[in-house]
Amino acid sequence: MTLTGSQLHTFSGLGTALVTAVAGVAVWWADSEAAAAKPPIDPFADMEVIDAALAEKAPAQVVQPQKKFRAPDPVKPQGVSHDENAKPVDQPKDEPKDDIDIDKVLNRNRDDDDDLEVGPTTQPVVGAFDGSEDGWGDETRGDPYLGALKSDLLRGWEYPEILSDVGTPVGCIHLEPDGTIPEFVLREQSGNAELDDSVERALKELQKKREQDPKPVPAHLVPKTRKWICYRMKVS
């Protein structure tokens, strides 16, 4: 049997519609199955930003007590005399000859770190330890227990000011129901070895702090302790 061009187009169109419908049903069925097995997931709900106000103020450094002064007006390059008889001024010459970025100067010799690409270099390990559960950001956003945990982490995070602050490493902890932290991991390296090192030190400090003074996880959070709690660490 030979089909004409129009017949061929008709069959082709009907066939495509049929296959699309079948595939759509398959997708719908698969989604329904997935939804039945697990609660619906909003990919963005997994990402939680706890209000910075939760962070406790870091202990004051040893700083000379600073009295408040009335700040003077910024000085223009060319002074304006209070003496009305003063001669007009020539082209100002008091601007710095070299407009040097102090931060760049401070970070000179940091090439080993700064030249490295910044970003994830390891595979994600977040999620349930056994891989059976999804995120729970919605349920824990603003939670005071996690807020205090974050504050403790921040309190122990020190990073020398002369080092480059480029990079955003991610560190994760495994929190036990009794409040101890049996393990932690640097999930994403930043490419800045010293910054990564400082995050590991902070996680270790948190682990030590919770070892000495474990704060049991509240009942509503206990089921969540099967999952990694991760921190995306930015210097400032």
Binding site: E48, A71, A128, K227
Partner: protein
Amino acid sequence: MLPNEGLVMRALLVIAALAITAPATVATADDGVIIDVSGAKRGRYPIAVPVAVDSDGAVAAEVAAVASFDLGVAGLFKVLDPASFLADLGVEKLGIEPAKWKDVGAYGVIKYRVVATGDQVELEARLFEVSKGNSAVLTKSYRGTKADLRKLTHAWCNEVVKYYTGEYGFFGSRIAYVAKKRGASQVMAVDFDGANPYGVTRNSSTNVLPAWSPGGGSIAFTSYMRNNPDLYVVGAGGGRPKKIASYKGMNTGASWSPDGSKIAVTLSKDGNPDIYVISASDGSILTRITDNKAIDTSPAWSPDGGSIAFVSDREGGPQIFVAPAGGGGAKRVSKNGSYNTTPAWSPAKGARVLAYTTRDGGSYDIVTLDLNSGAMVRITQNEGSNEEPSWSPNGRAIAFARTGGGGSGIYIAPADGNGKAVKVLSGSVTGIDWGPAPRP
């Protein structure tokens, strides 16, 4: 077979693939919570300077002591307490076991070996960054006499500062000052850490207000040797002074131009103190900076050469003004309080920051003022009376004279206001002026 069967099959495969992968995308969204954290405490760089164990005990201890002091006042480092160290130094020798140093909070570790043979010493020094393992990131060797040991250690510490900041430290520089001796006031100089003080002037007159030349080879000062406050220049090591300016009345408060060819000075040859620029070689007047009925004194030449700060009471009490170095109108920059004197420019590149003395109640304190932002930082408070600030060659520390509050003398404090001042020389001193950094 249909003629377009291949096309249909490909379409089916694409749709099937979409149908299969869509649920899988959802299934792998398996992340736990990720919390954004920002605000690390930014502080000094923790560094360990353990005493070398496989070296001559006395010289090894001196190297550690000098290096610890240098790095401690650099305004960059926090030198860790040796009592906290966990590492087995005898096993480590010139290397490190990073975990042991990480456990005590060190980011950097300095190791060295110093060998004394007769009058000679040989110093091999290494810098480790704990995060980078047990390979040294900086290694240097020095040789000299035992008398040079402090100098060699300063040189090493300057290299350490350069490694982290790109600029040498101020270790090995000297500070000029005035001390009273047997009824006379003499210009003196001392290593920045208080070692090796010596007299620059040796006469029975009053010698005041020393000012290092930019190259560090000469010191200008005012002396009453001829019964008038005239301006002289003498070699930094002492010797016969050369009279530069002896105009009638005051010839005081010298401040060198950055190229060393000119000196800003206060002259009262016409009866009223004003600021002038004179030739550093013959004292001839080049430019009159101020012409005001008020008293204008204490000129300070900016590092870029374009401005001169000075003190004037033209608006009442003494305040800091800034005028173009080529002459012209001046603008008041100090706004706090009613008494501000002795301005000094930060030599830090790109900075326009002045340190000066401000009266605070019954005492005097040191503050800095950023002329670009207006930000002020207090350097001293509630610790005696502090006057005459002078910046370190790299702008990271400020020396000043203190009376009371821990004992009179020369003190050094971090220029960022963080940390306490350290006394480097005891005694009643005035006229502090920090000289340039030694050549590497």
